[in-house]
Amino acid sequence: MEKIIYLDHAATTPARPEVVEAMMPYFTEKFWNPSSVYSPASEAKKAVSEVRERIADSLGTQSQDIYFTGGGSEADNWAIKETAEAYASKGKHIITSKIEHHAVLHTCQYLERNGYEVTYLDVDEMGYIKLDQLKKAIRPDTILITIMFANNEIGTIQPVKEIGAIAKEHGILFHTDAVQAYGQVPINVDEMNIDMMSASGHKLNGPKGIGFMYIRKGLKLRSFIHGGAQERKRRAGTENVTGIVGLGKAVEIAFETMKERTGKEQELRDYAIKKILAEIPYCRLNGGREHRLPNNINISFQFIEGESLLIMLDMAGICASSGSACTSGSLDPSHVLLAIGLPHEIAHGSLRMTLGEETTKEDMDFVVEKLKEIVDKLRKMSPLYED
């Protein structure tokens, strides 16, 4: 098989070899249940608490505020549903944005069916929420603001610190889905007044099926998964020690390499964007300019449809996505692209390419060449395009 150029790091990433290596002993020799009393099990317990420590460090907080989960979606569900339940006596109003991941949106819709009210903030044409609209949306019964740190489709990074400050000023809890941002941009939960934060291992070259939630000390929210006394009685289930160890290694490397890695990605991102916009007519860049994930390219090609584009790229060995991978079961155009104001048919013709540290300039040159050919071919086939 010819070379594959993987440009879908926002969907998932390969685990680093070091990550897999770190996990290996915990599958077989050190397979212990960390809750066990006998001394060998302390190896597993220690491994788990070291990772907790490492993650806490990366966020400028203490380890007892980190809770491991089965992934980003579980963390989002936990934060939103259990905050809703724990603070229902204060109020039943939640503020979020129109461009959240479905793990947040569908959870909010679930709460709406159960007597909560949700305000979905608009975003501007770059995908930023408007702070004055946020302020206006706050009501006496608002208990939670949940706004994602960075968007998975268009890469826009929200003004999280400002949102945190507004939440704090009004005594409202602030959760942020940082699944795309964690490991890519620096985050300090205290400086940013983040009360809860979701993250997922497989987005930062860690294993799948593991994530975590930061929960600020003192918050009333309780378990989402009830059962044993693991995770300070807040998240039941035998600890996924291998997953946790793998996540820990991924976090270690992600933070060690962050500056250099994302610097390189950003340069390549801007190079490719510039080239595509210059060489292919009728296309536009979606998402934030200044505050944008270092590896995200999202471009709409007028007159063509995303899936066809993806399949042709695939034939050329290029893996990319159109909208969010986990919603590919759906045929609707991406809710994010509609929220930034794209008409349906333009939203349909959008392409997301998310780079990784292994992506090279040669890769992107090849991709742009192929894109030109493919876009041309599809436009020739399109009833919307008259040349």
């Binding site: 007159f303 063509i304 449809e305 899936e307 066809s308 399949i311 034939m315 079961g329 045929l331 609707d332 155009p333 349906h344 048919e345 349909h348 020739k380 086939m381 399109s382 009833p383 919307l384």
Partner: protein, 145 residues
């Protein structure tokens, strides 16, 4: 996800293009996914489809069904073309994934719309042809959870 036949018709679509002064043109759109398909017929005096072309803005399945549908009607009589259902197109393509069944309806509907246009232009009546809906695709695929 797609069968080899689908991929073949997607990669090498047959009959892409336009026909100037076509005997009939049908354009249909799919409310569910926003896709659009246009079919052009060149029909002779014996009501035989001499030539057919299409343009499609849509997914892989939409492109492949357009291509296959045009193949299936080419050289057929108008009456025979009416028999080319989405099921026939899907079968000829060795099937489609469940979420993509609706795409094949687009092709069937485009044929009907082009035939209707032809019938209107020529003041004839085609047995069994109904006025096309302006929009198809409200048929629901199996709802899951």
């Amino acid at each position: 996800m797609y069968s080899e036949k689908v991929m073949d018709h997607f990669e090498h679509p047959r009959n892409v293009g336009e026909i100037e002064d076509a005997s009939g043109v049908g354009t249909v759109g799919n409310a569910k996914c926003g896709d659009i398909m246009r079919i052009y017929f060149d029909i002779d005096d014996d009501q035989i489809i001499r030539d057919v072309k299409f343009k499609t803005f849509g997914c892989g399945a939409a492109v492949a069904t357009s291509s296959m549908a045009t193949e299936l009607v080419k050289g057929k009589s108008v009456q025979e073309a009416l028999e080319v259902t989405n099921k026939a197109v899907m079968e000829a393509l060795d099937g489609l994934p469940p979420v993509k069944v609706h795409c094949s309806l687009l092709a069937e509907e485009a044929i009907h719309a082009a035939l209707w246009d032809y019938a209107e232009k020529n003041g004839i009546k085609i047995e069994g042809l109904k006025k096309p809906k302006s929009d198809i695709g409200e048929e629901e695929v199996e709802e899951e959870y």
